[in-house]
Every structure is written in structure tokens, then in C-alpha cells.
């Protein structure tokens, strides 16, 4: 259970800054800091159990058939990453408290930061591939928000968009890869996946899966050639860069490679591709870090380079290499976060990050200078710092790698060059900022920052030194656990500072000498590079994106020509292709079931349906007639339902038919009465062919299904309707009980449609004709006496009938839907007979709340079952008896059905009554050209 809290606490913690932002920044920072602090504490409390060798897992199944579950694990690897994420996160919060300017929305910033933290913790602890992917995407989204935090700055917006595009695209590839992986392993459970490594590697789809997964990992961890988003993400506030781009987000790809190592890494392909990509990235990043002049850009490229280094180690994949990779993850996180934060301090205090404007800061900021120097020493791999240890291990492992056969010297050689460059840019970073005399004055007069702002840097630098001095004491347990999680078995190792004079040490030595030499001759190098034009990744990317969207628009325009008709045509054509594919696969159209006998009534009904359908289509230019033909179809559909033992459906169809026709008639009043002839004959023939073929496909499919024996799950419903649902009408019990959740969704949609229509009709201005399509003026007798009196008489009767239908619905044909429609029809008849004003004056309440109350009652009925410890929408029923009435049944399903009833009445009237109101607002009662027509004698009740 604690595991669940560790994972979900940060997610809930997103609310903390939102809630405390009003209380002032100190309060807000403290409250927000509690979130990672508690999560960190909870994580550390699991350490004894982990050391004792327990497997910590927690899982809540959701859809086990699809492998979807909320499953978390805490093993050595998760622990290591949790400590990084939460520990450095805590330091970053402290730093951000001082970093953000007074008027910046710190509450929002913290909320984004915690959201990001939560998603990283989610990645680190996910015990399910799909869940892992979910959190993966969440990091992309939250990092987008963080990078673009200063949204008023163009570079921040562009940088954020670029990061989102690249990592988002990688995320999609990753999803495909993980789905394949889960399919190959037969499960999405992490343990199952990790255990089936041999099967996965032997699978024919392995290369595709590997490519997709690596695409995800490489984009996230900024590996070449997807590295270019990282430098542009530096437009983020520095706490974000320090957090995302040193310790966490960019490590997610590395984490993925480590996590899935047992499952996917044991292949030739992996051990060639991954080290090569890693080495290229290592060199590329280091080379550019040497020539950038913006502090953060230098750090960004150096990050790329270090990520490449870790990738190489994971690619080599021997136990010691994995250990070195994990060690370097921690080391890099500590010294790079420290360096980023110092860069932020320098930026904050001097007003610039430009190397050319900085210099000599050792005098004004001695402590920061010392801290940065130490952190940079760790980055360069100076002995007695943590960076030295992992770099030595790196050199050792590259020397031992058997990859690339006769070219196996290539990787160590590249590693050595990387080491040289790394020394060179580290020296340059520190020397140019702190020790070299300044050429010009910086924008602000520099001084030391507040002590608490420097505290995170101090802590990290102390860690760098302490781990460097006593590696065995500080790192063995943690790394041992993490390595065991990756390799599946404990690894016996000993971290030591001194291994004697060996090849790796000589490589380090060479790196130092050549590196310092390179920095010394830096000006010559720059001059040498001058003629080579540099490529601005952002401009290339922007141009690519613009071209892409332009081409996409062109392609879409070529397909559908921005015409809905053509679009519809394509849609139907593709549906036809799919349908034909399906029908062709049926061997014999007629199944084993024989045709039932046909009688005259059936032939007549079918004939009327076919006649109605064709007539609707044929007369579509004469809209009123077409509508009348449509109503024939509707009525005969109702009769069809009645004929084939579906009284509920017949009743529903009949009442829906009435409201549909009234609605369409009303709508037709505002629309042209005729459709102009505009389609060419060719087009008509084409449409007929398309529609006709689809009709054929549908008919064939329908026939094929009906003549086959089908397996139905309905026996369950039939058997359980009375004992389980307390109702004899199985259709109604399915609606309000077995599938109550569907019905709830459906009435919600109905109410939403009503609300949307209400909004659409808002301030609608329409031309209202004074005559019909033939030029006949409307009848002056707007409210015929017979209709008026009948509707008045009918109303109570209709309401009674609907109450009857409603109450008996559980056991006999009827129910909330039908009752609701009958009530609506009765009320609408009143509206039509007496006019909207008259009805409005008597039914003086809006219908929106009725629909909403209906949905609310249904929802609350469902929620009510929670009070009794049952799942959502469990129904209960019991039998009571009263004198005179006798024995009767009361079921909670009835309450649910009441909600359905109200929703249907409310939504239907919301639609029709509101539409009706549009007519009366300013309807022309006379033809302006012929003022003496009888229409003029109509008593002017309405404002005209």
C-alpha cells in the first residue's frame, strides 16, 4: 500500500501549490516541498525490505483481459531513480523559491514541477508497460508546460514545441514498440516481460520492436540525431533545466533501456546499434559544448555527451558496464544539476549567461566559484571526484567490449576522444567565467546569492566529493540493488579509487593533458572552424514543420477539395472497401438456418418500407414531400418492430417518430422548401452507384447473419432478470440494471445534445417565409379550435398513460424512455395547439434543469449503491404489501428509470420548445407586397 502512496502522492501533490498559492510564496514553497519530502521518506522506508530481498509490488487490476492495470513496483532501479527524482526535486524547489522573480506565478510553476515529478516517479515505478508509457507521455506534456513557462518569450514557445514534437513523436513510436513487446512476451506485466527475454529476441518482429522502443528512448534522452531539441529547451527557467535536463527527463530514455535490458538487450543488433549511437552522441555533444558561448548551451551539449556515454555503457551491456552506467547516471545528475544551478545563479546575479560578457567572477562570487569549480572537476573526471570513478569504469568497459570484431578498438578510441573534449569544455567553462579577467562589465553588478539559494548546490557538490572519496561506503548498497534489478542477479563488485596504473588511468591522463592543451589553443580551433557555416537546428526544424503542414494541407485539399460532399464520398468509399473485404471472406452467403415463411402482410410491409425509402430519396428536392415519405418509413419501422416481438421498440420508435417529424417540420419552416438542382447527372449516377453498392453489402451481411445460428449472451439476462433485477421485462431490466451504465451515458448524451441545441439557438436570426414553397400564404387560423380542444382533453390522459407506462415498465413493455417520450409528445401537442406564449405562460419553467436533474437522479442512484458497499449502479429491490394495494415491488431501478424519464422529457422539450420559441419572436403575419390578404386579419398577438 505504501508503494501506491509513493507513486500517487506526488500526483495528488499537484493540488498543493494550487491551494496554497494565495498564502504567500514561503508558505506555498514549504507546503509544496512536503510532497517530495514525504514521498522520499516513504521510499527510504522501503530500503530494509529491499535489502532483505523482498519483491515489492502492488497492483490494482482494471481490465485484466487487455493487460491494463495500475501496477507499481519498487526495486533497486526504481529506488535509485526515486531518490534522484525526489531528492533533486526537493533541492530544485528550494532553488526555485529564490530563482523566480517576485511577480511570477510561482504557484503554477510549482504545480507544473510537481506534475512532472509525479510522472517521473510513475515511470520509475511502473510495473506495467502501458502504465509506463502513460507516465512517459505525461512527462512530455508536463515538460512542455515547464519549458514554455515564460510563454511570452518566442524562444520559450518554440523550444517547448520542438521538445514536445520530438519527444511526443518518440512516445508514439514507443507505444507501438511496447505493444509489440507485450504481445511478444504475452503479457504487459514487467516481471513477465523481463523474464521472457530469450523468446523476445528470437521473435521475428524483434528488430521492428527494438527500433521503435529505441526511437522512444533516443528521442527522450537526446541521442544523435534527435539531440537538437535539448539545447533549445534551455529557454526554460534554470530550475527546470537543472531538473529536467540534467537529472530526470533526459534520463527517462536511459532508464527505459536499463529497465528493459533483460528483455531486449541480449542481441547482436542491440550491441552494435546502441553503442554506436551512444558514441556518436558522446562526441557530437562534447565537440559542440566546446564552442558554445552560452553557459546553459554548453551545459546542454555536455549533457547530450554524457547521455551518449551512458548509452554506450548500456549498449555494451556486460554486468560491470551496467553498473558503470547506473553509477554515472547518479554522478552526472549530481554534478550537472549543481552546474546548472550555478549557471542560474550567475545569470541571476550578473544578468547574462554569455561567456563573452562574463569573467573574473571569482572575486565577487568566491563561494559560487569554488562550488562550480568542484562540480566541473567532477564533470571532467578529476580523481577524487565521483565523475572520475564512473569515467574510469567507462574506459575499462570500452576496452573490454568485443563489439565490432576487428574494429573493437574504435569504441575505446572514441571514448578517449570524448574524455579529452570533456576535460577541455569543463576547463573552459570554469576558467572563462571565474578566473579569466572580464573584457567588459556584466549588465548587473555581481554578488553572492542568498545563502539558501546556494544551499542546493552546496549539498550536491558535497555529494560529488564524498562519493568520490568513499565510493564503497556511499554507493555500494544502492548501486548493488539497482544493478541487481537490471541484471536479475546480484553482482559482486568493489568500488575503489585506486586500481593501480593501468590502461584506463593512462587514458584519463592523456585526456587531461590533451584536453587542457585544446583549451589553451581554443582560439586557434575557433579560427579553424570559422569557415564552416553552423546550422541552426531550430530554423531547420521550423522549416521542416512548415513544409510538412503545407504538404499535408495540399494533400488533404487534393483529396477532398474542402468539400464535405467529396469527403463523405471518400468516407463511404473506404467503408465500401472494408465491407466488401468482409463479405468476400464469407464462404457461403446463406447459412444453415432456413428462411422462415413469408406472408402477404410481410410483403406489404417490406414493400411500403422500400417504397418509402426510395420515394424519400427520389423526391428530396421537394422537401416537404420527402419528409412525408420519410415518415412512412418511420411508421413502418415501428410496425416491423411490433411484428418481430419487440413491443418496447415499437412504442419507442412510434413516439420518437412523432417528435422527429415535428422537429423536422419546424426546421423546414426556416429552411428553403426546395433543393435547387445542382449535381451533374454524372455525379448523381456516381453517388447512386456508391450508395447502391453499400446497400448491397449491407443487405448481404444482414442476410448472412440472419441465416446463421448465433451465440447469444441473452440467456444470462433471461435467467437473471427476475432473480437478479427484480423485473420481468428483460429489455427494461437490461436498460436500467444490467447495462445501466450505458444508459446513464446515453441520457447524459441526450441532455448534452439538448444543451448544445439550446446554445445553438441562442440569438439565432432566421428568415421566416410568409408562405410555403408553392407561394401559398399560411393559413390565418393559427390555432384551430378542434386541435386546441382535443389537445387540452388529451393532456391529462396522455400524462396518465405515460405514468402507467412508466410504472409498469419493469415488468411489462414500457419504461422511462417511452414514458418520457409520451409526456414530451403530449406537452408538445399543447405547444402546437395553443402557441408558445400560451404554453410558456402556463408551463413557466426552463427545461434545462429538468434534464440535468434527471441525469443527476440516475447518477445518484448509481452512487447510492456505494453507500451499501456495492459497485456503482448495483440495484436492489424488495417486495412490500399494503392494505388495498396488495403486494408490490419497489426497486432502486425504478429511481434510475425516473432519472431516465426526466432526462428524456427535459431534453426533448429543451430541443423542441426552444426551437418553437424562435418562430414566434418576429414572424411575418402578412405578405408585405399584398397587405390585403386574409392573413392581415389575424389578431396581432405577437410582436411583428
Amino acid at each position: 500500500m505504501t508503494l501506491l502512496w509513493i507513486a500517487l502522492l506526488p500526483l495528488l501533490g499537484v493540488l498543493v501549490p494550487a491551494l496554497t498559492a494565495q498564502r504567500g510564496r514561503t508558505m506555498c514553497s514549504l507546503a509544496t516541498g512536503l510532497v517530495p519530502a514525504i514521498a522520499l521518506l516513504l521510499t527510504l522506508m522501503q530500503l530494509p525490505a529491499l535489502l532483505a530481498g523482498e519483491a515489492l509490488r502492488v497492483s490494482i487490476t482494471w481490465l485484466p483481459e487487455l493487460g491494463l492495470e495500475l501496477a507499481f513496483r519498487l526495486d533497486g532501479l526504481s529506488l535509485l531513480f526515486n531518490l534522484l527524482i525526489l531528492g533533486i526535486g526537493l533541492l530544485i524547489l528550494l532553488y526555485a523559491h529564490f530563482y523566480l522573480a517576485k511577480d511570477e506565478p510561482y504557484g503554477r510553476f510549482y504545480a507544473f514541477l510537481i506534475l512532472f515529478m509525479a510522472s517521473m516517479v510513475g515511470i520509475s515505478m511502473s510495473d506495467n508497460l502501458i502504465l509506463l508509457w502513460l507516465f512517459w507521455e505525461l512527462t512530455s506534456l508536463s515538460s512542455f508546460l515547464l519549458i514554455g513557462f515564460w510563454s511570452y518569450r518566442g524562444d520559450a514557445r518554440k523550444g517547448a514545441r520542438m521538445a514536445l514534437t520530438i519527444t511526443g513523436a518518440g512516445g508514439l513510436a514507443l507505444l507501438a514498440g511496447l505493444l509489440l513487446l507485450g504481445d511478444m512476451a504475452g503479457s504487459y506485466r514487467m516481471d513477465d516481460v523481463l523474464a521472457s527475454g530469450e523468446r523476445i529476441v528470437a521473435d521475428g518482429r524483434y528488430p521492428i520492436m527494438l527500433a521503435l522502443v529505441l526511437l522512444g528512448a533516443f528521442t527522450k534522452s537526446a541521442q544523435f540525431p534527435f539531440h537538437f531539441w535539448l539545447p533549445h529547451a534551455m529557454a526554460a527557467p534554470t530550475p527546470v533545466s537543472a531538473y529536467l535536463h540534467s537529472a530526470t527527463m533526459v534520463k527517462a530514455g536511459i532508464f527505459l533501456m536499463a529497465r528493459l535490458h533483460p528483455a531486449i538487450a541480449d542481441s547482436e543488433l542491440w550491441s552494435v546499434v546502441v553503442p554506436l549511437v551512444g558514441s556518436v552522441t558522446l562526441l557530437y555533444g562534447a565537440w559542440f559544448a566546446l564552442f558554445k558561448t552560452d553557459l546553459k548551451a554548453i551545459l546542454a551539449f555536455s549533457t547530450i555527451s554524457h547521455l551518449g556515454l551512458i548509452t554506450v555503457l548500456l549498449g555494451i551491456g556486460s554486468p560491470m558496464a551496467v553498473l558503470a552506467a547506473l553509477f554515472h547516471i547518479v554522478n552526472h545528475a549530481t554534478f550537472k544539476a549543481a552546474l546548472f544551478m550555478s549557471a542560474g545563479i550567475i545569470d541571476h546575479e550578473t544578468g547574462t549567461r554569455e561567456l563573452k560578457l562574463l569573467g573574473g567572477l571569482r572575486k565577487t562570487m568566491p563561494v559560487t566559484a569554488l562550488l562550480s569549480t568542484l562540480a566541473a572537476a567532477a564533470m571532467a573526471g578529476v580523481p577524487l571526484f565521483n565523475g572520475f570513478l564512473s569515467k574510469e569504469m567507462f574506459f575499462t568497459e570500452t576496452l573490454a567490449t568485443p563489439v565490432l570484431g576487428g574494429l573493437s578498438w574504435l569504441i575505446p578510441a572514441l571514448a578517449a576522444v570524448g574524455g579529452i573534449l570533456s576535460v577541455a569544455y569543463s576547463v573552459r567553462l570554469v576558467h572563462a567565467v571565474f578566473y579569466k579577467p572580464a573584457k567588459e562589465a556584466s549588465p548587473k553588478t555581481p554578488h553572492e546569492p542568498p545563502h539558501l539559494m546556494r544551499l542546493p548546490v552546496e549539498i550536491l557538490v558535497v555529494l560529488c566529493v564524498v562519493v568520490g572519496l568513499f565510493p564503497a561506503f556511499f554507493a555500494t548498497n544502492l548501486l548493488g540493488l539497482a544493478t541487481q534489478a537490471v541484471l536479475g542477479e546480484p553482482l559482486d563488485f568493489h568500488l575503489a579509487i585506486w586500481h593501480g596504473v593501468n590502461l584506463p588511468l593512462i587514458m584519463s591522463l592523456i585526456a587531461f593533458l590533451v584536453g587542457i592543451f585544446m583549451y589553451w589553443r581554443h582560439a586557434d580551433l575557433r579560427r579553424f572552424l570559422q569557415p564552416f557555416a553552423s546550422v541552426d537546428a531550430r530554423r531547420v526544424f521550423e522549416r521542416f514543420m512548415i513544409t510538412l503542414s503545407y504538404r499535408a494541407e495540399q494533400a488533404i485539399a487534393a483529396l477532398d477539395g474542402n468539400s464535405l460532399q467529396r469527403f463523405m464520398g471518400w468516407l463511404l468509399l473506404s467503408a465500401l472497401c472494408m465491407g466488401v473485404l468482409g463479405v468476400v471472406q464469407i464462404d457461403i452467403l446463406t447459412g444453415s438456418k432456413s428462411n422462415q415463411p413469408t406472408d402477404g402482410i410481410l410483403v406489404f410491409g417490406a414493400g411500403m418500407l422500400i417504397f418509402g425509402g426510395i420515394a424519400t430519396a427520389a423526391t428530396h428536392r421537394y422537401r416537404l414531400i420527402s419528409l412525408l415519405m420519410l415518415s412512412i418509413v418511420g411508421l413502418f419501422v415501428a410496425l416491423t418492430f411490433a411484428r418481430f416481438s419487440a413491443p418496447d421498440l415499437a412504442l419507442t420508435q412510434l413516439s420518437v417518430e412523432v417528435v422527429t417529424m415535428i422537429l423536422l417540420m419546424l426546421a423546414l419552416f426556416f429552411l428553403p422548401q426546395r433543393t435547387p438542382r445542382e449535381s451533374s447527372p454524372l455525379r448523381n449516377v456516381r453517388d447512386m452507384l456508391l450508395a447502391g453498392s453499400l446497400g448491397l453489402v449491407v443487405a448481404s451481411l444482414n442476410y448472412a447473419v440472419m441465416t446463421r445460428e448465433t451465440l447469444s449472451i441473452s440467456n444470462f439476462f433471461m435467467a437473471n432478470s427476475v432473480p437478479g433485477g427484480g423485473g420481468h421485462n428483460v429489455v427494461n431490466v437490461i436498460l436500467v440494471d444490467f447495462r445501466g451504465f450505458d444508459t446513464l451515458g446515453e441520457i447524459t448524451v441526450l441532455a448534452l445534445a439538448g444543451l448544445a441545441i439550446f446554445k445553438l439557438l441562442n440569438r439565432l436570426r432566421l428568415f421566416m417565409p410568409h408562405s410555403d414553397g408553392e407561394g401559398r400564404v399560411w393559413s390565418p387560423d393559427r390555432y384551430p379550435a378542434i386541435l386546441t380542444s382535443i389537445s387540452m382533453t388529451l393532456l391529462p390522459l396522455a400524462l396518465l398513460v405515460s405514468a402507467f407506462i412508466f410504472l409498469r415498465g419493469h415488468n411489462q413493455p414500457g419504461g422511462g424512455f417511452i414514458a418520457g417520450l409520451i409526456t414530451a409528445v403530449a406537452l408538445i401537442l399543447l405547444y402546437m395547439a395553443r402557441g408558445v406564449e400560451w404554453a410558456q405562460a402556463r408551463l413557466d419553467f426552463p427545461f434545462q434543469p429538468v434534464a440535468i436533474v434527471g441525469v443527476a437522479i440516475a447518477t445518484l442512484t448509481g452512487l447510492g449503491s456505494w453507500l451499501f458497499g456495492y459497485p456503482f449502479l448495483t440495484s436492489a429491490f424488495s417486495y412490500f404489501s399494503l392494505p388495498l394495494v396488495g403486494k408490490f415491488e419497489l426497486a432502486t431501478a425504478l429511481l434510475f428509470d425516473l432519472g431516465v424519464y426526466l432526462a428524456v422529457v427535459g431534453a426533448t422539450l429543451m430541443i423542441l420548445a426552444n426551437l418553437g420559441k424562435v418562430t414566434t419572436a418576429h414572424r411575418p403575419v402578412t405578405d408585405p407586397k399584398e397587405p390585403e390578404t386574409p392573413a392581415a386579419q389575424v389578431p396581432a398577438k405577437e410582436p411583428s
Partner: protein, 110 residues
């Protein structure tokens, strides 16, 4: 009987879809309504065509499949909501665009 039923469903589908390919809003709405009738009939028949059956539990007897009925019942109501929404959208489009072409343009390009 099944043959006749299937032919009817097919014809209704074809007529409905033909109308949805028209260029003015009202025939498209009518076409959608017609198509939804056809679809409802199609779905309804998935449980087989039962004559003189029942979906009311009353001892033993000839039962019709209740599940497609329940599904179609909700489909009918949702179909109404959809028709209502589309037709009012069409009215709104006419009031905004001044004509009732599906693309909101006066001239048809074909």
C-alpha cells in the same frame, strides 16, 4: 422472410446514404435519419427474427432476444438527439452563411 428483410435494410441504407451525399443540408439530415432507421433494423435483426415471441419472463415460452432490443432502444433515442442536433446546426449554418449548402458556399463546384 429473412431475404425480404435483408433487401429492405439494403434499400433503406442505399437511399439514406445517397441522400447524405447531397449538397444541401436538409436532404443530408433526412438521409441521416433514414440511414439510422436502416441501421436500427440491421442491429435489431442480429438477434434473429422472432414471431410471436416475448421479452417478458413468464414461465416457459417462445422468447425473443432482448439484448439487441435494448441496444436498439437506446439507439433510437440517441438517433433522435443526433438528428435534432444536426438539423439545428443546419439552421444555424444557414443563418450564419446565408445559404444551406453543406460547405456554406453558394456555388457548387461540380
Amino acid at each position: 422472410m429473412e431475404t425480404l428483410y435483408a433487401i429492405t435494410t439494403g434499400v433503406l441504407t442505399a437511399c439514406g446514404l445517397y441522400l447524405t451525399l447531397r449538397g444541401r443540408t436538409f436532404p443530408v439530415v433526412v438521409g441521416l435519419t433514414l440511414t439510422s432507421y436502416a441501421v436500427n433494423l440491421f442491429l435489431f435483426s442480429m438477434g434473429g427474427l422472432t414471431t410471436d415471441g416475448a421479452t417478458i419472463v413468464h414461465g416457459d415460452g417462445n422468447y425473443a432476444d432482448p439484448l439487441p432490443q435494448a441496444l436498439v432502444l437506446t439507439a433510437i433515442v440517441i438517433g433522435f438527439a443526433m438528428t435534432a442536433f444536426v438539423v439545428i446546426l443546419a439552421m444555424r449554418a444557414r443563418s450564419e452563411a446565408g445559404n444551406d449548402h453543406v460547405d456554406g458556399k453558394k456555388e457548387d463546384r461540380e
